[in-house]
Symmetry: C2
Subunit: 221 residues, 2 copies
């Protein structure tokens, strides 16, 4: 028998995918603006942030509504709780893209240093794949795919460490570039955080599907 | 008539206060270790993180249990949803304290630069007051107090900008200090994030009490 909650959960999944699309786009635009030195493109990131903020409130309200009207239990309840958490992570990813666009604007106003941009591009691509993959694993309830996201986070962390190290060496040799170097370090940090949020989502998917809490090493679940 | 859910909500509040106490302690220890140059004290931050992680899982489970068994609606439902969010913010505050302890350990291994430590101490004190104040406003359902927390966040942001600026000037003049300067910048950033999480909590309190969503400028609530 078809239950009303099944349709509502399908609608929730669609809302989350739409929101995830906005997050992917804002990340891609922020990085493209940085790499193509296109100041105006940063403004589109702020326009997308407005959409993400609207999505954020809508998803929260939809979850509250299902909880109040359907009183879900077991797997349904875990799914709604996971959506509440995924919603928060997506919203904070949008904030990180905005942070990148602010710092990117500063960076474009300075004498360019290029050495770290290649790794930043790679980090952004991996982060984008993590957003897409984590939400895909959520919609399909695919635990194996969610586990792969956790591994991708190590790649991002490695690249962040590389950017930190190389930018520090650069600043020491050419201290007039300290602001530009610091900008790239902060952008690498933002991208690392984006990866962390995608990791949170993957962990939420594993919890929603299996009921197993793998956070904090799975020690307390 | 006394309802079962009232006792469960009281228990939840106690759990959140206990967890908040752990967060305050880990922040205070991380900062004290940095200022007193006490490497061993950083280890206590990691010990407290274990407690925070345990608290995190316990609170989530308690909320799930109330949602499944009591099917709360209206104000009760808003309160449980708020606790789920506050729980996440507190856990991430614990992560920030751990980040401070990692960077602080690096910092203590370098030739010290002292200029920014005074502002970092101030930031830590304000962040600590924000954690305590936001949770106090939550337990008492005090919207006025929650609004005051939002203002304190501006103080932290101002101090972070000051540390960023002064450390950058210092690095430019004395590039051999780039690593130490960068450490202090990252620690200031961690403290700023701690303030952001306390701000999130204050916004959740306002939502739980009034039903008004003031996030994102209150435009979509």
């Amino acid at each position: 028998m078809e239950r009303a909650i099944d349709n509502q959960i399908e609608d929730l999944k669609k809302m989350i995918l739409l929101m995830g699309g906005h997050v992917e786009k804002s990340l891609a635009q922020a990085t493209a603006a940085l790499l193509s030195r296109d100041l105006a493109m940063f403004d589109s990131v702020h326009a997308i942030e407005q959409l993400i903020n609207e999505d954020h409130i809508k998803v929260d309200n939809a979850c509250m509504n299902i909880l109040a009207k359907q009183g879900p239990v077991a797997k349904d309840l875990r799914l709604i709780i996971s959506v509440l958490k995924i919603n928060n992570d997506l919203e904070r990813m949008g904030d990180q893209a905005v942070n990148i666009s602010y710092t990117g604007k500063d960076y474009l106003g300075r004498a360019p240093i290029q050495a770290q941009l290649n790794d930043i591009q790679k980090m952004s691509e991996i982060a984008g794949r993590m957003v897409k993959g984590s939400l895909d694993s959520f919609v399909r309830g695919d635990v194996d795919q969610a586990r792969k996201i956790l591994l991708m986070d190590d790649e991002i962390d490695g690249l962040k460490n590389k950017v930190f190290k190389e930018a520090t060496v650069h600043i020491k040799a050419q201290p007039q570039d300290v602001e530009a170097g610091l900008d790239l370090i902060l952008i690498a940090r933002n991208l690392e955080r984006l990866g962390d949020h995608a990791t949170n989502i993957a962990e939420d998917v594993i919890f929603a599907v299996t009921g197993k809490d793998i956070r904090h090493g799975g020690k307390f679940g």
